[in-house]
Symmetry: D2
Subunit: 301 residues, 4 copies
Amino acid sequence: MAITLGPNQYGKAESRVVRVFRDTARHEIRDLNVSTALRGDFEDAHVTGDQSAVLPTDTQKNTAFAFAKQKPLTSIEEYALTLGKHLVHQTPQATGARITVEEYHWERIPVGGTGHDHSFVRGGQGIRNTIVTVEGRGADQRTHVISGIGDLVVAKTTGSEFRGFLKDEYTTLQEADDRILATSLVARWRYAHQDVDWDAAHASIKAILLEQFATIHSLALQQTLYGMGKAVLEQHPEVAEIKFSAPNKHHFLVDLSPFGTDNPGEVFFAADRPYGLIEASVVRDDAPPPGDAWTAVPGFC
Amino acid sequence: MAITLGPNQYGKAESRVVRVFRDTARHEIRDLNVSTALRGDFEDAHVTGDQSAVLPTDTQKNTAFAFAKQKPLTSIEEYALTLGKHLVHQTPQATGARITVEEYHWERIPVGGTGHDHSFVRGGQGIRNTIVTVEGRGADQRTHVISGIGDLVVAKTTGSEFRGFLKDEYTTLQEADDRILATSLVARWRYAHQDVDWDAAHASIKAILLEQFATIHSLALQQTLYGMGKAVLEQHPEVAEIKFSAPNKHHFLVDLSPFGTDNPGEVFFAADRPYGLIEASVVRDDAPPPGDAWTAVPGFC
Amino acid sequence: MAITLGPNQYGKAESRVVRVFRDTARHEIRDLNVSTALRGDFEDAHVTGDQSAVLPTDTQKNTAFAFAKQKPLTSIEEYALTLGKHLVHQTPQATGARITVEEYHWERIPVGGTGHDHSFVRGGQGIRNTIVTVEGRGADQRTHVISGIGDLVVAKTTGSEFRGFLKDEYTTLQEADDRILATSLVARWRYAHQDVDWDAAHASIKAILLEQFATIHSLALQQTLYGMGKAVLEQHPEVAEIKFSAPNKHHFLVDLSPFGTDNPGEVFFAADRPYGLIEASVVRDDAPPPGDAWTAVPGFC
Amino acid sequence: MAITLGPNQYGKAESRVVRVFRDTARHEIRDLNVSTALRGDFEDAHVTGDQSAVLPTDTQKNTAFAFAKQKPLTSIEEYALTLGKHLVHQTPQATGARITVEEYHWERIPVGGTGHDHSFVRGGQGIRNTIVTVEGRGADQRTHVISGIGDLVVAKTTGSEFRGFLKDEYTTLQEADDRILATSLVARWRYAHQDVDWDAAHASIKAILLEQFATIHSLALQQTLYGMGKAVLEQHPEVAEIKFSAPNKHHFLVDLSPFGTDNPGEVFFAADRPYGLIEASVVRDDAPPPGDAWTAVPGFC
């Protein structure tokens, strides 16, 4: 019997990289939260404490900041691919990397009917992100791109029911013909290849997700999510699969009858906890293998 | 020498009241976080434990939910005024009330070029709120309305300097000709009277705040805030005073020279803590007295 | 009619100052979160943008770090008094300062039956803090010390009732003979003078608060808080007044009867929101005047 | 090419179950945060919306509360095993379950030199948790128990260096002979079997982790974690493997030289972001296979 090192990775998490493009008076801003991690043969670093194979997390951070200027930052996916391949290249004992980037959305402040040149306000719906995984070195190297959106809070005030479910002796839930359906959606989709217009694809997929949420008559959050994912795969052949993690944010109808008032779906109590948690994925059966793309992505089975 | 009860208040905090208007197929939604509190002569409740003068916080919560249907909910200010006056009326030993309401903004999901009838996505910039204070009972009763916006995150990528400041032996800060100015603004303004179109006033004041932030050439966050407040008071005679609490969210220029790259205002590190914290108010010298309007409003001197 | 600058203050918030005392092999650690602010005649800084009277927030931060070594750091109260008086002295147009310090508690890691010399684990109950206010300059200068504890989460599983309260048409709450009473206590007390052993006083007051919470048979959270405060004032003549902000963290008895099980006070659902919020203060009638000591202290009326 | 349902699970997250044992006047309290999830053949629920195979998340929640009284709650591991096996049994199309439980630690309030019978204060170091996975049905059913601790914040003020690391053109980090090492540890260990005294094992493993952190002379956080894990496996044959996720919470030495003061390891700035993030695992080579035990456990590769 022996005790040995198992899976491991290390890196710098949550570098807050802000890039301003000021080539003209009309500035652009990219506001990023960048995390990098390396995987590989780092046994000495753990067992004997010899760090000679370890590119410090501080160096990873420096590179993340430097690349914001030295390399094109046309999209977070492109930036993460460049950064991940570079970090593996610089670290001979690395066999892979994981780069995670969130991007915060800024809108131009309206002044006199148009957006201001260099003043911005945070806004928008949901937070765009990407998870890029680099596997292997040199000619055998593969890369995976997962893009996603988090904190996309949506609700529908009708067009949602939940009926015909399995019952046992602990079941007290009443069937619902017409309820509020609300969630704070996390969606992540893996691209089948990288010949993609990253910004356009993201915008289109987000629009499809919202539109499907709006228009599907919901029999359960599971069925809504499945329909949303199916529509994305049908309209985006470059997407190999999509995964969802969706809290069912319960809105309970308030009983106003003690106060002489009926309540036909008008006043609700929005509860914090507990919440339903629905996780589902929709896949294309000819999708290329995911390799390590989903390994250790929080909350996704 | 005697030990006695000092200032006190009690209530129910953070009732999450969601009101759906479904009179037509085109639903409306109001999503509120309501806190109520009563002040008054509640000495017995504290000293002897006799609760006979105490309207329970549970009752306050019930009333907040019931009024979402029983009373008009045309604006959070109107709703809070109605609720506050009612709670004082119901509680003979109350001499005042404080009602605080936050409202979360929902946008219609775009489907086929138009907003959907009953499906929504959370969005927008900042969180609208109001603090209504009721003072006294009966004929002598006065009410105060403070409205505000929180979490309004703004930044400008140029047009901001900070120079000519006082220096002592602990000063190492360099003068800045051109820096990023960013803050997560909290603004609250007190109305001089209540003959106000609450929704229109709020929208206009928010627009002025954003526009002034954008267009004032900043010599310091203090001077920017003062200019923002002055513009609001000039354009809105119904506003008696306005107060700001604004963290100066530091963006530090990253030194890329070790990597052979200059950095003329292009790559920044956005720091979390510490942050500057600027609090300022702008007042009209003929403003009616505030009474208890600002008492115990968090973070405002 | 004129528009003018109203109350204002500015400073550096949340400097995370960690001080290690390593004079012997048995290290000591003080882990602080320090916020400083100056008040005074800073009209030019706001109105014209002239910063020549403004000691930068960056300088305030530097001083907070430097004083952690240059001055004795025997208690957060002593440190805050020194820092506040210094900052006013350095800034001729300042008429006051507010210094707020939180301290995080570290315990020695037990090794071989004793605490380790230089290895620590965060622990303990509640977070100690102080708010020091400096008013005026020179001979007329006064200082106020408020000390406190936050996040002190306490519960009692019996010995708490709530009955005999005022009822109206919105009251549905049942009277409770025996309920769980739980709160996350924030307590702050103002000292009448500064000839105080700060660490010993804090420890004693915290112990009194806990012991009173435990032993008072509760008729309401208000009555419990009053009893806690009264005991502190009776046993600590140096305390002029004490204030509490206490959420009533509701624990609802779960109805297990649908599952054929009674529930005599054994299984509860701990709710997040809404919560009761009880604020109360207990004062000594010969207390020295508070001046600005409580101004803008969040959540305290 | 076909589009199909991929991996999925559903359940109720974060039920706040509080259990009071009041068989004698000396009450006991167990304060839990319980999440349950089912996996299986739920294609109809997603694709056609037919919920007839779906045991509602509301029922799962009811069961979690009811079992707090109906079943022994001797440890969170035992409770989670009972709950997980039951939920799979009740749901014919389920092929597995995941039960996650956190337990908050309460200490008796000291009164007159002893702990009070029914009054408690939250305290302690870190938060105990368990993740139980049920795989399969009937005779083939297997169960896995992972126990852990989160938010265990530890620091050492000396006995930590970081030297001899790999350097490239983006490396500016200086070698450190003597630095603060601090982390907020998350540790999870999988048991090889279930003939375990859960409470005793948890207490012993936590003590080993703390003691090893204290006594290992650190050459890197990786080497510290490996040593901590190795010690646990050596002393606990019932543990098959252990995994760590550890942010390297950077404490930067403050340069006090501009103020005429040296700083030999005495004053530090505790930074929030970015932070190093070290993930490592230590395994026994004869460990039984983990099955789905680690699938979708957040942050663990």
